[in-house]
């Protein structure tokens, strides 16, 4: 079983390597435009509510902790704790997504959704308007992709909860939980970078 276990964590790591380049690609684009439209991107970040962002960051870090604890519980044959921790992770993930949805609706409301819905005008610096739209484009794409990953993760979590309840996991076989954990932590890491880039740098 050991070999299989190692293979699946290794496989997950390779997948995460591709994810690093996936998010890295958009990060490169973001960085270039941030430097080209410095002022506009600063103004753009002003439209983010850093309090909500910080709270959400805490939620996500919390979910990472519960995820890590779920792996620990699986490794040490604590079936009920595994299930509880997985459910907590799912809940925290749900809270995060809910908050995100709220933020999105706010932005759309303020006319900050790029494209035809974009009605916002930068009063101070009218010339920045286009740059702000670009910033919001990056904001929605990056957080949207991140949220998509969370949704996929949530789906996997439900499956894990089901399997954990069935008693599939134990010290000899826990690699699905472990792999799930790697994925979840990675999504957390992405957010750790998105948070300062999109909310704090102004």
């Amino acid at each position: 079983m050991g070999q299989q276990h190692e293979a699946s964590t290794l496989g997950m790591w390779m997948f995460l390597a591709t994810e690093i380049l996936f998010f890295g690609g958009i990060l490169a684009a973001y960085t270039i435009y941030r430097l080209l439209y410095y002022g506009a991107f600063r103004d753009g970040a002003h439209h983010q509510n850093w309090r909500i962002g910080a709270a959400n960051t805490a939620v996500l870090i919390g979910s990472s902790l519960t995820m890590a604890l779920a792996v620990w519980a699986a490794q040490t044959s604590r079936r009920n704790i595994t299930v509880i921790m997985l459910i907590l992770t799912l809940l925290l993930g749900g809270v995060f997504l809910g908050v995100k949805a709220y933020e999105y609706s706010q932005h759309v409301h303020e006319g900050l959704f790029p494209g035809t819905l974009f009605t916002y005008v930068d009063e101070e610096n009218p010339g920045y308007t286009k740059g702000v739209e670009l910033f919001m484009m990056f904001y929605f794409t990056m957080t949207g992709l991140h949220a998509l990953h969370m949704v996929i993760g949530a789906g996997l979590l439900i499956w894990m909860i089901f399997r954990a309840r069935r008693g599939d996991f134990g010290p000899e076989y826990y690699s699905p939980v472990e792999v799930m954990g790697l994925y979840w932590h990675f999504v957390d890491i992405v957010w750790i970078f998105l948070f300062p880039l999109l909310y704090l740098l102004h």
Binding site: Y37, Y38, G39, N125, P126, G127, Y128, K130
Partner: protein, 335 residues
């Protein structure tokens, strides 16, 4: 002029011979190595072909030192190729100081050329022989690429950005112009001719046609768009003085400095808020959507011509106006 089965393009610019020289050299070098490789393969394949006597290969390995040889030698050759190609590229990029300016606008699917004297042409370009010509180019829509096979030069023409390219024709005649970057339905129809003329015919051609020069048209636009209400000739105006601006360093309000090149002027007109000159407020309105690509070029030529005015220009600072961005020599002048 047009040979109906050409195997080699005509050489009609100062660059053409040099490009051909490298090309031929490469053909010889790589040809030799390739032919050698094939001959050896064939020789081995025949000499050591499988036969009842040669059912099993011989248990022999060539000396490993060969590896070093065929790593080091090709590397040296390749680096040599790089150096030669790079040197050529520098020649292709460095515009001679006294180049004649011509302005190019690409759009789906035609080329518009405008001479400083104000002559405009579509899909045909008249240039004098023996004189360096610098093209300043922008596109109105998608990316195009202006290609003169006989001059061996081309450059992509980008929207919202000026690019330059130069050549010096060495032969009179009529040669192809192609659009080399795919640009939609009629990409293959975005073609034209360049007419290289000897000096007398060129002067005759230049004399006809235009009503007024590009820069004086630009001056008119400068008034029409009311630029002159802010940009006056003295520092007390609401906007900075534009005389002597081109090619100089500009200090911005966030402390950065930029060089006032074609793209900076362009941005200043279309997106003035992007870079604010130190000491001024962000009050200049954008002219995006009001000035079209050709008017923009005229304004550019006008602003540039202000720099060329000897009375207004301090001695050229070598750092801020490198060889690529020499102030234009305006044949017709502004006045």
């Amino acid at each position: 002029m047009v040979n109906d089965f050409p195997l080699w393009p005509e050489r009609a610019s100062t660059m053409a011979g040099q490009v051909d020289a490298l090309f031929i050299a490469l053909c010889i070098i790589t040809g030799t190595v390739s032919v050698l490789v094939w001959s050896v393969i064939f020789f081995f394949a025949i000499k050591y072909r499988r036969s009842p006597e040669n059912e099993l290969a011989q248990d022999y390995e060539p000396p490993a030192i060969l590896e070093v040889g065929w790593i080091v030698v090709p590397t040296i050759i390749f680096i040599g190729i790089f150096l030669w190609g790079a040197w050529l590229f520098f020649q292709e990029q460095r515009v001679p100081a006294n180049a004649l300016d011509i302005y190019v606008t690409g759009r789906q699917w035609m080329w518009k050329f405008e001479h400083p004297g104000g002559q405009r042409e579509i899909n045909t370009l008249h240039v004098p022989v023996g004189r360096a010509v610098r093209l300043t180019m922008a596109s109105e829509d998608v990316i195009h690429s202006l290609f003169f096979p006989v001059f061996r030069v081309k450059a992509d023409v980008l929207p919202n950005r000026y690019r330059t390219m130069w050549f010096q024709a060495t032969k009179t005649g009529r040669f192809h112009i192609f659009c080399a970057e795919y640009c939609g339905t009629n990409h293959s129809g975005m073609i034209g001719w360049v007419e290289v003329m000897d000096d007398p015919s060129y002067q005759r051609w230049m004399a006809g046609g235009a009503e007024s020069s590009m820069s004086s048209q630009g001056e008119d636009l400068f008034q029409k768009f009311a630029c002159n209400t802010c940009h006056t000739n003295n520092a007390s105006g609401r906007g900075p003085v534009l005389a002597g601006l081109f090619g100089k360093q500009v200090v911005l309000n966030d402390g950065r400095t930029v060089i006032a090149d074609e793209n900076y002027i362009r941005e200043s007109i279309l997106n003035p808020q992007a870079k604010i000159v130190q000491g001024y407020g962000p009050i200049m309105p954008t002219f995006q959507g009001q000035v079209n690509e050709e008017d923009l070029l005229k304004l550019l030529v006008y602003v540039r011509s202000l720099a060329a005015h000897p009375a207004l220009t301090p001695a050229n600072e070598p750092r801020s106006s490198g060889p690529a961005r020499v102030a234009p020599q305006n044949p017709k002048g502004t006045q």
